[in-house]
Symmetry: C2
């Protein structure tokens, strides 16, 4: 009955604005609050509603059912740092140098981070009078000037990089990292020296990851309660189910999917707590919550990695499994509920939220994000018709409409890089698993995609590589 109650309440609150059923949409939203919930290394197939047989995610499924479940929702890169740069800036990471051939993500010993010249979604929303807070993983630079509080967030409580970094073991060569993963040590929090920070201060080291999902959520809910009377933007970026996996006592051993499932179910539980808090504060109807993940599952981690469902490959790859993610939008009474098969991207949040907050988009740079409002509120077509899949600063593949052309292919961590003079072509709506190559049948599609690429390249100014510089090389100590 809760849902009915909330609908009735909503009808009452906005009755003055209602003309017909379909009008009860974005018009009602006045400086809505935004909550982005971002999982880490969770795959397309890891939620019940996206097809996992044994991971139970009732809260996310409910979000998807009451809101919109996007099934063609992409991240800006198949690995962590560039994907986060994309969601933060609404721009392909290649534009701001947050992607690199040499080092795929930032390390604790990396020199740089997100360029100060970039405008984050938090900076953007602040222009509209929003309170802004980040909880969880950042991974866009751990030096002070790169931290969230110096990039548009009023507040931050979280970890500066991936939860598997800062291994306390001595490593002599990169291979030692993989050997470590086969050892028993990595089951101990003490094997990781990752700091938990508040704003610019380290408050716990190593961070206790058994309780970290719950603690991020507690802090986010506290923030929501305190800021309910003013528009706010919450970025809640769980650092799990990235390995090493840790669940709280309440969840460990409870899922049929093993520890990975426990961790996802704990995240689901905490997403439910955020939804409940928004309802309790009476602000759910003026809030948009988005749930997604930063990239596909880390398949080399075997059972400790996730699943891309029916999609091909995973994290690190420009096959669909690397960059297509669950995308769930929830905003009671405002969205046109259902499954959305249109194309969307995390970069579009920058643009969509800016519009809803009444903030002008920057005009001095290319913004890759598009405004999804009509798709969200009216059930109309998404303006996004294409998606560009970069690996480092090189364009590997392009989706245009239903078709995807691979100009270069390479498995997630393979040395099997292959350049295709005639790109491999797939219809990913018909064939989401990218199994049936159809370039011979559709030369006209390839010609069209080549034009899209030419157009794209015209406006492409690549940023200087921000990931390549290291303060020191831990493998050369």
């Amino acid at each position: 009955m809760k849902q009915i109650y909330s609908t009735i309440r909503n009808l009452f609150l906005f009755s003055a604005l209602i003309i017909g059923g379909n009008e009860m949409r974005s018009q009602n939203l006045e400086k809505p609050n935004f909550v982005i919930i971002f999982a880490d290394d969770m795959g397309y197939g890891d939620l019940s509603s996206y097809g996992h047989p044994t991971i139970k995610t009732p809260n996310l499924d409910k979000m998807a059912m009451e809101g919109q479940k996007w099934t063609n929702f992409y991240v800006g890169s198949s690995v962590c740092t560039p994907s986060r740069a994309a969601i933060m800036t609404g721009r392909l990471p290649v534009r701001n140098g947050m992607t690199s051939k040499e080092h795929r993500v930032l390390q604790p010993w990396s020199t740089n981070g997100l360029p100060q010249s970039e405008i984050t979604i938090a900076e953007q929303l602040k222009k509209g009078g929003y309170g802004t807070a980040a909880f969880g993983k950042w991974h866009l630079g751990d030096k002070e000037q790169y931290l969230p509080v110096n990039n548009g967030f009023d507040y931050w409580y979280g970890v500066p990089y991936s939860n598997d970094m800062d291994i306390t073991l001595e490593m002599n060569e990169p291979q030692d990292y993989w050997n470590f993963w086969k050892s028993e040590e990595r089951k101990e929090i003490s094997s990781f020296n990752i700091p938990l920070m508040r704003n610019t201060e380290v408050i716990e080291r190593p961070a206790d990851q058994h309780t970290i999902t719950k603690r991020y959520t507690n802090e986010a809910i506290e923030y929501i309660k305190e800021n309910k009377d003013n528009p706010f933007f919450v970025y809640l970026a769980y650092n799990l189910p990235h390995v090493p996996l840790f669940a709280s006592e309440e969840f460990e051993g409870t899922s049929k999917r093993g520890l990975y499932g426990d961790v996802v179910e704990e995240i689901d539980h905490n997403v439910g707590r955020v939804m409940e808090a928004l309802k309790e504060q009476g602000i759910a109807e003026n809030t948009i919550v988005v749930f997604t993940s930063d990239n596909g599952p880390w398949l080399v981690m075997d059972e400790e990695g996730g699943s891309a469902g029916l999609l091909r490959d995973g994290k690190g790859s420009t096959w669909e499994g690397g960059m297509r993610e669950p995308g769930i939008f929830w905003s009671p009474g405002n969205l046109k509920p259902g499954i959305v098969t249109e194309i969307g991207s995390t970069m579009d949040l920058f643009t969509t939220f800016s519009k809803l907050a009444g903030v002008e988009l920057p005009e001095d740079r290319v913004i890759d994000g598009q405004d999804l409002s009509d798709a969200l509120f009216e059930g109309k077509e998404s303006p996004r018709k294409s998606m560009f899949y970069y690996r480092g600063d090189e364009l590997y593949a392009v989706r245009y409409g239903s078709y995807k052309a691979h100009f270069v292919t390479q498995s997630a961590y393979g040395s099997d890089r292959e350049v295709h003079e005639t790109p491999l072509l797939y219809n990913v709506d018909v064939d989401p698993s990218e199994k049936y190559e159809i370039s011979e049948k559709h030369p006209e599609v390839i010609a069209e995609i080549r034009k899209v690429v030419d157009e794209h390249n015209k406006n492409m100014v690549k940023g200087p590589d921000m990931l390549k510089d290291w303060d020191y090389n831990p493998f050369e100590q």
Copy 2:
């Protein structure tokens, strides 16, 4: 509001019986009607609610949401004829000879069919005073004595075997069959000479498959209306999305998944019509509807075959993709709604329905079906703890609890048969894609499964092979 109305109505109708919320379960069901809806070659991953990105199945998703979505639901065999023998008899096909090494399914030129000594679920329910009707594909013998009306059904309207049989082309060798599939002819109904039958009479030949899904449904709904005052059993076995694919004008070209998607969406639409009809007749609350498919997707058919989602392999194989299917139960007000990760099987319908109909199980034979009532109505554990995966009359694999041991592996149509002295072991709850082999880690599980196999073999009397005899060999004309 319809759902609320129906719940209120249900409360009213059964108010005398209600003690508390949880009691409003199977106790209310008095000789409930049963409707089995059986798709053909549809895979685990082909419904929205089971993870397909572009096939939209709102009616089945609603069934799953209001009812139970089983995610570990198995068929009795990875190919058509034996799978249908299993759902009809509640027995593994190896017991009644409906599976064979030589010919995997019945052909139009096969001599035999389901032995008369077998008790079908229709015969069983007739003992309880049920009206029984079959609509759609049979494939348990096309000679008169094997047809549905001579095996417990009062009425039948459908096709006797697969919709790709009776090719009008001359074939000289089996390879011609595959060549035919690459030709343009197979897009014409007239290339197939499959008869549409009513009881024992051919009424249309070739059957117009563009409208066949709709027509099966029309007939089923008509039957439901006429029989609403007495308990009935409807077996609605669509012969699609088995190739060749045909959709009606209304659906052709409407899905983003191509013709395969059109066909599945048309089935979904027609499932919705059955649900509506049951509601309109006021009997939904005393009916149990089950939706599943006969085996995994026929992967060699490329885009015209379906998807097993994250499961390995498909039709014809004893990997999960061959035998795990969507399993949706719907019975408004009676089931404990939710996702069920317990093990169930199509064979269990025989046993469960017999119990609910008040009909004793046969005692002169092994029945493999188990009673799922407690799982359905009370949300308790399923009594089924194991599943036996046969190929022909040979046991290839066994699931016991979360674990599955492969004693023999072979891809769907491969000649890569391999016998494993130490079986390959997977935890299919943790690893539904059967990627991470763990036999070395768990010898104790293998020992336990060997005991389960020994116990199973003790009661195993294999029936004589009913599929091997052909009236003639079309390849030797």
